[in-house]
């Protein structure tokens, strides 16, 4: 085994990434003549680092697999920015495959992104008219572009020592503290999300407690019923015994 393959045990390093697409519709004024007539949108699909450091040095290349009908559907980007700009008319699933530096000795990571050209339909979800962040649905920016960006983290479990060096060159996990219009993913959003989840958790735990109480009540009533029944049966037995005694007396 080569020396650089030695792994750092019991450690995992996570690096945030965002991936997604932006899309802006053509209109009569800004449509270039080179674009086919049926294409309605110009879109960009990308993989980026949302942190302050903007460091994607651990990535060797990113391969985007576009829809088969697009010319040259397999696009490989060897250096940042990892993005592709194209024109088109339809939404489809983009397969994104991230290859890491050879020092990592890792297999590539593959995932999907649903290309969004059309805004999220607000009639579907009624959470005060706001589009849920991070759901992958299209968000409309003030300038009319549609955006669908997802946050995720790459987890390097027990990286090789060489790769560990690359990963720890700079602190790679520092997010912006506040939400901005360009980048919503920040410590602030994390806190908000945590707050929401904790609230929901409290609610669920309350419901669990009340449900358990109900079970106890049900069991209690059940016991009472059984006791009643037992008493009734005892009475009946008593009666029968008495009757038997009476009969015995008669026969004697």
């Amino acid at each position: 085994m080569a020396p650089h393959v030695k792994r750092v045990k019991n450690i995992s390093i996570s690096r945030p990434i965002i991936y997604g697409n932006t899309a802006s519709p053509f209109d009569a004024t800004n449509k270039p003549s080179s674009v086919p007539s049926d294409h309605t949108h110009s879109w960009t699909v990308f993989v980026r680092d949302p942190t302050k450091s903007q460091d994607l040095s651990m990535i060797k290349k990113v391969v985007f697999k576009l829809h088969d009908t697009i010319r040259n559907p397999l696009r490989t980007i060897e250096s940042p920015p990892f993005e592709i700009t194209e024109t088109g008319w339809g939404e489809f699933e983009v397969i994104i495959k991230i290859f890491f530096q050879p020092e990592s000795n890792e297999k590539p990571v593959q995932f999907y992104h649903h290309l969004k050209l059309h805004p999220y339909n607000p009639q579907v979800g009624e959470s005060g008219g706001t589009v849920p962040v991070g759901s992958g649905s299209g968000v409309v920016n003030p300038d009319g572009t549609v955006e669908s960006v997802l946050y995720d983290e790459l987890m390097f479990n027990e990286p090789t020592e060489d790769f560990f060096k690359i990963l720890t060159n700079k602190p790679g996990h520092l997010l912006n503290s506040k939400k901005t219009t360009e980048l919503v993913y920040s410590d602030e959003l994390e806190q908000e999300e945590l707050f929401r989840i904790n609230n929901a958790l409290g609610e669920v735990q309350e419901q669990i407690l009340s449900a358990r109480k109900k079970i106890q009540e049900l069991e209690f009533t059940n016991k009472q019923r059984i006791q009643q029944q037992q008493e009734q049966e005892k009475e009946q037995e008593h009666k029968q015994e008495q009757e038997n005694d009476d009969e015995n007396v008669d026969s004697e």
Binding site: N10, D152, E153, P171, I197, L201, Q205, I215
Partner: protein, 450 residues
């Protein structure tokens, strides 16, 4: 071997052996192509008897005499204009006196209220006092005219007066009929003749207008259902049936189980096992005794056979050996990482040897874990706890109710940890709810069946 042979063996003398007369079936004389076909069959007669069926039209039988048809005049007595018509009749013989279709022209025998009976019977205590004698008579006329075809009567009903619905007409007609029939019955009774059918008829004439209107409303509603409603109804019916079946099955199983529990003729009261808690208790106690028995047996065998003990101890040693290296790997790395990395100048070791604060760790996205994890790279979102599809959909719907998206907005470490706790809590909640339901249904079943 036949009886004939047996008798031969025993030398039993017999008078004339009865000769079986072979019935010679007259062979059908086949003709034409059929004969040729049967000859082709030869000796091998088919197992199945095939009857030749002619597929051709029968040839016109020109030899027999033609049937006689006569042109006969007839009168239809159900007509009142005495029209004379003629028709062809087959065969010779006297022409029938009656026209054969006369019998089907039946007229209903309806009571006919005249002024006198109306005054006498109906006028006195008439609940429907907006009816006049004239209109009642008109109604009966219409009924007779259209043979009680109510839809047509209602359609043709044209009387100067208040508007009448179909149910109004029916109610009036039946109530008047009933009164008249009761009166007739009284007279018959006085005369000493009792007609069973008539009393039955009187009972049958009770017409409930409101019920009839309700019935029609129901029918209309039934007809006006949308396909979606029909589908829903059907699915509900199916579900209800399934519930019934499940309940029956459960009762049967319970009965079988109780029977089984009862088989060693226990004197104890069985009713404490009639609910799920009781059963669970019993099950646990039985399991416990079973286990303790097994353990005793194992101990016994270990004591008696030294060979067995040797293998056991070997196994134990092996286990310990396996555990030791694991511990040696884990301990130094967590407590003092310097020991594992051979070169102290290694930057990895340097970084790890520094005591990092929690903030610094977060900045590098570093985390330590004691448990064994598969080395490699993956997305954090792929490690979010997932459940069986059936459970997952329920969890998702509960999340929606709580206003939490199914995929957290940010897949960061803290959020995923909390999110997993949340989904876990939701599953326990769903479990407890299910338990409540089962206890309730069980109780209902048990107490209803007793």
């Amino acid at each position: 071997m036949s009886s004939h042979d047996i008798l031969d063996v025993f030398n039993v003398q017999r008078s004339e052996p009865p000769k079986k007369k072979k019935k010679i079936e007259p062979k059908k004389q086949l003709s034409g192509i059929n004969r040729e076909l049967y000859q082709l069959l030869g000796e091998n007669t088919p197992a199945l008897h095939l009857k030749p069926t002619s597929k051709f039209r029968k040839r016109l039988d020109t030899n027999s005499k033609a049937a006689a048809w006569r042109w006969v005049k007839f009168k239809n007595n159900s007509r009142d204009d005495g029209l004379q018509l003629s028709h062809w009749m087959k065969g010779i013989g006297p022409s029938p006196e009656k026209y054969q279709f006369e019998q089907y022209n039946q007229k209903l025998k309806l009571p006919d209220p005249d002024d006198v009976t109306y005054e006498r019977l109906i006028k006195e205590n008439d609940e429907e006092n907006d009816w006049t004698c004239e209109e009642t008579k008109y109604l009966f006329k219409m009924c007779k005219l259209y043979d009680l075809r109510w839809i047509i009567i209602n359609d043709r009903y044209n009387y100067q007066g208040p508007a009448r619905s179909l149910e109004d007409l029916k109610q009036r007609f039946y109530s008047v009929c009933q009164k008249i029939l009761i009166d007739e019955n009284k007279i018959l009774k006085e005369a000493g003749i009792l007609d069973e059918n008539k009393t039955k008829l009187i009972d049958a004439l009770n017409f409930d207008k409101s019920k009839e209107i309700d019935r029609k409303k129901y029918l209309e509603r039934l007809l006006g259902r949308s396909p979606a409603e029909i589908a829903e109804e059907e699915s509900l019916v199916i579900e209800a049936r399934r519930f019934e079946q499940a309940a029956q099955k459960m009762l049967a199983e319970r009965a079988a189980l109780l029977h089984l529990l009862d088989s060693p003729a226990s004197t104890a009261n069985i009713s404490q096992y009639s609910n799920s808690q009781g059963l669970a208790q019993l099950y646990n106690s039985l399991m416990f005794t079973d286990k303790s028995k097994k353990r005793k047996q194992e101990q016994d065998t270990a004591v008696t056979s030294s060979a067995g003990m040797a293998t056991d101890s070997k196994k134990l040693n092996k286990k310990q050996q396996q555990q030791q290296p694991q511990q040696s790997q884990q301990q130094p790395e967590i407590i003092s990482p310097q020991q594992t990395t051979p070169q102290p100048e290694n930057p990895v070791a340097q970084l790890l040897s520094k005591k990092l604060t929690a903030q610094e760790e977060a900045a590098y996205g570093l985390s330590y874990h004691a448990e064994r994890l598969q080395p490699g790279v993956h997305l954090r979102s792929s490690k979010i706890a997932s459940y069986k599809p059936s459970v997952q959909t329920k969890v998702n719907s509960t999340l929606n109710e709580l206003g939490i998206p199914n995929r957290p907005a940010m897949i960061s470490k803290k959020i995923v940890e909390r999110f997993d706790i949340l989904t876990d809590a939701i599953t326990t909640l769903l479990e407890t709810k299910k338990q409540i339901d089962s206890i309730e249904t069980e109780q209902n079943l048990v107490w209803n069946s007793q």
